[in-house]
Symmetry: C2
Subunit: 273 residues, 2 copies
């Protein structure tokens, strides 16, 4: 049975997408959803066009689309509660109980969640991204002590995307530094990291998965061989254990799971929302 | 009046945070919220500890905390509806109408939204991040034609974070390429970009904001001077207009707004959710 989910918003649509995605992924086993995002629906003309598209989809599919919406404006929001669709609007449902408990009216201002409202937060985020970019893969040892956290692990374990996620989403200055065969030979963590031990967090991975990733990058290289991958992972984990560095295994964790677990375990606080 | 918002989840808590943040930012003018995320509440002990923390906070604040929760498990979810707090749970509210319309039961599986369920999607995301990292700031011209999009603009206009966001969140291979004084002198876009004109999207910025950002990076340099910034922005916009390249001004847009607007205007589709 084909179904369509619409994510509709007067602004970016990011909240509607995330809310809707969380909900429909609960039905993944039984229902296959086509996903359509309609962002920046902020004029009467765009409202009409969006409604026409939803109605047309209902006819094509032969069943009601699910519309996840986040309209602050009550009139616009009301327009999307149509018999041809099942509409679930976050504000419709949750703003009232919040207004009652808080004893104040909501501001009805669109774009608060993902706008540039707070310039200082925006700058914090930019600084974190710039920092993480320039401290990727041990790029610059200079200012490494400015890092909020330094992820360590073997090459291709998944340090970089996790750092970027921490920087972009949380405003955390996240550096990363490789553990290499030289370090295994010396039986010690890289010298540059010694004074920063309390900022280190390890990223490990299964040797099989590592070989697969390295193979995609450098086919049939020794670097990607099963033996080398196995040895590197074992030695890196040994070094981290000996040094008392906490580490996570990326093999079965998403970037979001890695990032949130690191935030949680280290007690770091978000700098931005 | 001090208030506390809790974001509570059996998994990452990302959906609860976004939902809650969207809602409470509607009350920003009147209520100042302390935000506490309690992720990975996945054992009876952690449930008890979280409930104790919420109750304690209610006593300290002298008013009810708002609890934004996303529990798939009905029993756990029910535990958080306590008289000492106002609890808003996304699944409690929205799963029922969805089950009714779809005619199937939800899977009640936690971690669907931000887990690694789909390995192929994860790989797409990693590839996009790697691509965008190695094609930052005109870094490699090689394989530039593999880009889904190439952001262009003067140095420090905000290309890099937007590219990284597109890669991480949407799995889009986003390169970026600077427009420099050399290009202004030649009255033309960089030669490497000529054959890729249909992939180009411009990022512009107000000269004042650009000077501020450049000044933070290289204090009192000519590069950061008001005159140079004004001239560069004017010339870059002129080049983009002449070449028919669409562009956005980052001065009043957040990274999310830039990214979603670019997706929307170009008609690119998310590769990952």
């Amino acid at each position: 049975m084909p179904r369509t989910a619409f994510f509709v918003s007067g602004r970016t649509g990011i909240t509607a997408e995330m809310l809707g995605h969380s909900l429909i992924s609960q039905f993944d086993d039984e229902v296959s959803f086509r996903r359509i995002t309609l962002p920046y629906i902020d004029t009467p003309e765009k409202v009409e066009a969006a409604l026409a598209q939803i109605r047309e989809q209902a006819r094509t599919d032969g069943c009601k689309p699910v519309v996840f919406s986040t309209f602050i404006n009550e009139e616009t929001r009301a327009r999307f509660f149509i018999p041809e669709a099942v509409t679930l609007d976050m504000f419709e449902t949750f703003i009232k109980p919040l207004e009652e408990e808080l004893g104040v009216q909501s501001s009805h201002t669109a774009g608060r969640a993902h706008g540039i409202a707070n310039f200082e937060e925006y700058q914090t985020r930019l600084d974190a991204v710039n920092y993480s970019m320039s401290h990727d893969d041990g790029g610059i040892s200079r200012n490494l002590s400015d890092a909020d956290i330094i992820l360590i692990g073997v090459s291709r374990a998944g340090k970089t995307p996790t750092c970027l996620y921490l920087a972009l989403q949380y405003g955390i200055k996240a550096a990363n530094y490789p553990i290499t065969p030289e370090d295994f030979a010396a039986h010690t963590l890289p010298r540059a990291l010694m004074p920063l031990r309390n900022k280190l967090f390890g990223i490990s991975i299964s040797p099989e998965r590592l070989a697969q990733i390295r193979h995609a990058r450098k086919p049939d290289s020794q670097y990607a061989s099963a033996e080398i991958c196995k040895r590197e992972v074992e030695e890196a984990e040994l070094l981290m254990r000996q040094a008392g560095i906490p580490f996570l295994n990326t093999t079965s964790l998403s970037i979001e799971e890695l990032a949130t677990t690191i935030m949680h375990r280290t007690g770091m606080k978000r700098r931005v929302y």
